[in-house]
C-alpha cells in the first residue's frame, strides 16, 4: 500500500494520427500502450491492473471495451473502463495503488475522431428538450465562455500572439498531428485556428508505488452543474476547485509550479484555465499564454484533440517535460508540472494532477 504522494510514473507514450489506413483502433491502442510499457522498462509481467478512459459513442460501438481492453493489456487482469476523461482515470488508477489494490497499473485513454462524427456526438450531449433543438455543440459553449471572458474585461490584445505561439509549438511538437485532421466551423468570437484540431489520439502511462523519475505530488477533482446557465462562465470553477485541492495536497501554490499543461478545447479555454488555476491574474490569461513558454508548451489543443484522451495526453506531455525528453518543445528543466483534463458536458468535470521530477 502506497501512501498519498507515493505513486510514480514509470513510462509514458502519446501518439496523434489521422485515419491511418494500416491500423485499426485496437492496433493504435496496442502500439501506444506497448511503448509506455517499454518506456517503463518492467515488461507486462509486473502489471496487475488496467484503468481505461474511453467512450462507446466515440469508439463507435456498444461496450467497446470488450474489444479495446485486451489491446491495452487487460487479459486476465483487473481492468476498469471510465467513460470519462483520461486524467480522471489516471486519478482513479493512482487511488488503486494507494489503496494497495495494485502494484503496477497501465492507464490508457483514446479517441478516434476520424471515425466518428464529433459534431453530432457533441450535440447528443445536450438536453433533448431544452438545449438539443438549438443545435448546440461543446465548442459553442466554449464560444460563450470566450465572449463572457471578453465582456468581463479579459485582455484581448494578446489573442493573436497567443495563437501564434500555440501554432509554433504545435508545429515543433514531435508528437503533434502534422497532417490531416480538421476543425469545426467557429462560433463568434472564436476563429478557426482557436478550435481544437480533431485527431486520432492514444495516450498511455504506467504507474506504480516504486520510486521512479516522476512522482504524483497531488491531485484534485471537481464538477459543475449540468445546465450552462448555472455554470460560472469564463471562470472554470470546477477547474479552480480541482487545482486548489491538488495544490493543497502538494503543499504548493500555482506560482511555484514550473510548467503547465492544461486541457482546454480552444485557445480561450486555455487562457481561462491559466486564470482558474491561479497562475494568471483575472483577465490576463491570454497575455500569459502568449508570453510564458512554460504554459502549454505542447501546443495545447492545436497539437491534436480527441476526447476522452486529452487529460492523459496532457499528463504525458508534462511527464516528458519533467524528464527533459519532450524534444523540440522542451522548456528548460522543470521540477514541477501541473496537468489537467476536462470531461463532458463542456468541461462539467475537471481533474488536476501535479507532478514532480525526482
Amino acid at each position: 500500500m502506497a501512501e498519498v504522494g507515493s505513486v510514480y510514473i514509470e513510462g509514458a507514450a502519446l501518439e496523434f494520427s489521422w485515419a491511418d489506413p494500416r491500423r485499426n483502433l485496437m492496433e493504435l491502442i496496442y502500439d501506444t500502450v506497448s511503448k509506455a510499457v517499454e518506456d517503463a522498462g518492467q515488461g507486462y509481467d509486473g502489471i496487475d491492473s488496467v484503468v481505461l478512459a474511453a467512450h462507446d459513442l466515440v469508439d463507435g460501438r456498444s461496450l467497446s471495451s470488450m474489444v479495446t481492453a485486451p489491446a491495452a493489456g487487460a487479459y486476465l487482469r483487473d481492468e476498469v473502463r471510465y467513460s470519462d476523461d483520461g486524467a480522471g482515470a489516471f486519478a482513479a488508477a493512482v487511488a488503486r495503488i494507494e489503496a494497495g489494490e495494485s502494484e503496477r497499473t497501465i492507464v490508457a485513454a483514446w479517441g478516434r475522431a476520424s471515425e466518428h462524427d464529433v459534431e453530432e456526438l457533441s450535440r447528443q450531449l445536450f438536453d433533448r428538450i431544452f438545449l438539443a433543438p438549438l443545435g448546440l455543440q461543446e465548442t459553442h459553449i466554449c464560444a460563450v465562455n470566450a465572449q463572457k471572458w471578453r465582456i468581463n474585461g479579459g485582455d484581448t490584445s494578446s489573442v493573436e500572439a497567443a495563437q501564434k505561439r500555440r501554432a509554433v509549438a504545435a508545429k515543433a511538437n514531435p508528437r503533434a498531428l502534422q497532417s490531416g485532421g480538421w476543425r469545426s466551423t467557429p462560433a463568434y468570437p472564436l476563429e478557426s485556428d482557436h478550435l481544437p484540431l480533431w485527431a486520432d489520439a492514444v495516450a498511455a502511462v504506467v504507474i506504480s508505488g516504486k520510486p521512479s523519475s516522476v512522482r504524483v505530488k497531488g491531485l484534485g477533482l471537481s464538477s459543475e452543474p449540468y445546465w450552462p446557465g448555472d455554470r460560472g462562465l469564463a471562470t472554470a470553477p470546477a477547474l479552480q476547485r480541482a487545482s486548489e485541492r491538488a495544490l493543497a495536497e502538494a503543499g504548493m501554490t500555482a506560482h511555484e509550479i514550473d510548467l503547465f499543461e492544461l486541457d482546454g478545447m480552444t485557445l480561450y479555454d486555455e487562457a481561462i484555465a491559466l486564470e482558474a488555476v491561479g497562475y494568471a491574474a483575472k483577465g490576463q490569461g491570454m497575455r500569459v499564454l502568449a508570453e510564458d513558454q512554460r504554459c502549454n508548451p505542447s501546443g495545447g489543443s492545436a497539437a491534436g484533440y480527441s476526447v476522452p484522451a486529452m487529460g492523459l495526453a496532457r499528463i504525458v506531455e508534462a511527464t516528458l517535460q519533467l524528464r527533459a525528453t519532450a524534444g523540440a518543445v522542451q522548456v528548460g528543466k522543470p521540477r514541477t508540472a501541473m496537468a489537467s483534463g476536462l470531461s463532458v458536458t463542456a468541461a462539467q468535470t475537471q481533474t488536476v494532477i501535479i507532478l514532480e521530477a525526482q
Binding site: V4, V50, H55, D56, L57, R61, S62, L63, S65, M66, V67, A69, P70, A74, Y75, L76, R77, D78, E79, V80, R81, Y82, S83, D84, G88, A91, A92, V94, A95, R96, E98, A99, G100, E101, L121, Q124, L125, D127, R128, G220, L221, S222, S223, E224, P225, Y226, P237, A238, R241, V344, T345, Q348, T349
Partner: protein, 386 residues
C-alpha cells in the same frame, strides 16, 4: 482501512418509467440511499456514477444531467454488465486510498427507451466475424447452455428449475420488475427464444436506479453496516472462440469469475465458500449463467453442477441463490451488478424484508458483463475482513 455500505436506495424496477426523467430516477435512488445512511449530501466526498451502453438509453452521458452535490469529485464508469459493481469497487478504492471518507455510488438504466435491446447488444460483437450471425446476448447464452448440457449433463428441466426458483423468490421482493408465479413446467412451456433457452429463462428488460453510500470505518457509528470484505474483478479475452480450447478453462468455465472469486475470498478470509457464505446474489441473466457460476465460486465441481441444482431444493445448508429473484426478477443492465451488491448488503444488514434469508453472516454478489468477458465478485459481511 475497512469500508462499509451503510445506505441502500432503489427505485424499484419495471419495464419503463414513462413518468420519470433519468435525473429523477437517479435523484430518487440517491435520496433513498442517503436517508438509509442518515447522511446529507454535504457529508459525501465524492460521487461515482455508472451507466452502461449509452445506446440502450438513447441518451448520451445522461448521468451528467443528474449530477449531485456540485463541486464534488465526480467520475463515470462504463464496464457493460459489471458497470454497477465496478462503480461500487471504485468507491471502495477511493475510500481505502483515504481520498474520501464517504462516497455515493449511483447507477441508472433506461433501456425501456431502446427500440430493441438485442439490436444494441448485437453491436457489441465483432462487426466482421460475428455481428451478422446474428449473435446477441440470447444466442450467446444459448451456445453456452448447449455446451453445458453436452459436457455435464444438464437438462432443460435444470434450466427451468433454476428460473422458477428465481421467479418464486422475486414474489417476495417488492422492488422486482416481474411478480409472476411460475413453475418449471411453465418455463418449459414458454416460447423458445434460441434452443435451449425458453422465454422464462431469460431476464426481462428493466429500468430503474440504484444507489449506495459507502463510508470508512470511522463514519459507521451506530449504523448497521455491510462490510466490504473482498472485491475483485477480472477481464477475459474478447473473442469467445479464444476461450474454448485454452488449457484449463473452456468457454463455460468462467475463468474470469473463478479468478475474481479466488482474490475476493482471499481478501475476505473465505476458504470454504459453500460453508462460509449464506446468501449469493448472482448476475445470471439466464439459468445457464447461474450454472456456470457454481464451480467458479467454489460451490461444486463443474461435473457435479446438475446434482447441485437438485440439492438446492433439499439441502438447507447450501447457500441461498438470488433471494431477491436475481436478474430473472429484474435486469436493469447497467445497474444489475450494483443491485446484486445492494441486495447482498440488505441481507447482511438483516434489512431484506420478506426476502430475508436467516442467519446471513456473509453474502456474495457477482457481476458479469461483456459476453462473460468481465467478472466481479464482492464479499460482504457483518464484520470487517479478518
Amino acid at each position: 482501512m475497512s469500508v462499509a455500505i451503510i445506505g441502500v436506495g432503489q427505485t424499484g424496477y419495471r419495464r419503463s418509467f414513462p413518468d420519470k426523467s433519468s435525473r429523477e430516477l437517479i435523484w430518487e435512488a440517491a435520496r433513498l440511499a442517503l436517508e438509509d445512511a442518515d447522511l446529507d449530501i454535504d457529508a459525501i466526498d465524492m460521487v461515482i456514477s455508472g451507466v452502461a451502453p449509452d445506446a440502450l438509453a438513447g441518451e448520451a452521458s445522461v448521468e451528467r444531467t443528474a449530477m449531485l452535490g456540485f463541486g464534488k469529485p465526480f467520475l463515470r464508469i462504463n464496464t457493460g454488465g459489471v458497470t454497477g459493481s465496478s462503480t461500487v469497487f471504485a468507491g471502495n478504492t477511493f475510500i481505502r486510498a483515504k481520498r474520501a471518507r464517504a462516497v455515493l455510488v449511483v447507477g441508472l438504466e433506461r433501456m425501456g427507451q431502446a427500440t430493441s435491446s438485442q439490436q444494441v447488444f448485437n453491436t457489441i460483437f465483432d462487426p466482421v466475424y460475428e455481428k451478422d450471425f446474428p449473435l446477441t446476448t440470447i444466442t450467446m447464452a444459448a451456445l453456452r447452455a448447449s455446451m453445458l448440457m453436452r459436457l455435464y449433463g444438464y437438462t432443460a428441466m435444470h434450466w427451468a428449475k433454476i428460473a422458477a426458483r428465481s421467479y418464486q423468490n422475486a414474489l417476495k421482493n417488492p422492488l422486482a420488475h416481474l411478480h409472476v408465479d411460475i413453475t418449471p413446467e411453465d418455463v418449459l412451456n414458454s416460447p423458445l427464444l434460441a434452443w435451449p433457452i425458453h422465454r422464462y429463462e431469460a431476464c426481462p428488460m428493466s429500468e430503474g436506479a440504484c444507489a449506495m453510500v459507502l463510508v470508512n470505518d470511522q463514519m459507521v457509528g451506530d449504523r448497521t453496516p455491510a462490510w466490504i470484505q473482498g472485491a475483485a474483478s477480472i477481464t477475459d479475452s474478447y473473442a469467445m472462440g479464444d476461450r474454448i480450447h485454452r488449457p484449463g478453462a473452456t468457454l463455460v468455465d468462467l475463468l474470469s469469475l473463478k479468478l475474481a472469486a479466488q482474490r475476493a475470498y482471499a481478501q475476505a478470509g473465505v476458504d470454504k465458500p459453500r460453508d462460509q457464505v449464506r446468501a449469493i446474489e448472482l448476475y445470471s441473466a439466464f439459468s445457464s449463467a447461474e450454472a456456470m457460476a457454481y464451480p467458479a465460486l467454489g460451490m461444486c465441481e463443474a461435473s457435479d453442477g446438475p446434482r447441485f441444482v437438485e440439492d438446492q431444493f433439499t439441502d438447507p445448508k447450501i447457500p441461498v441463490f438470488n433471494p431477491s429473484g436475481g436478474p430473472q426478477g429484474a435486469n436493469p443492465v447497467s445497474v444489475t451488478a450494483m443491485v446484486r451488491i445492494a441486495e447482498a448488503a440488505l441481507q447482511v444488514r438483516d434489512m431484506a424484508g420478506e426476502r430475508q434469508v436467516a442467519d446471513v453472516d456473509r453474502a456474495v454478489a457477482t457481476g458479469q458483463g461483456g459476453a462473460t468477458q468481465f467478472s466481479t465478485v464482492c464479499v460482504l459481511g457483518k464484520r470487517p475482513a479478518p
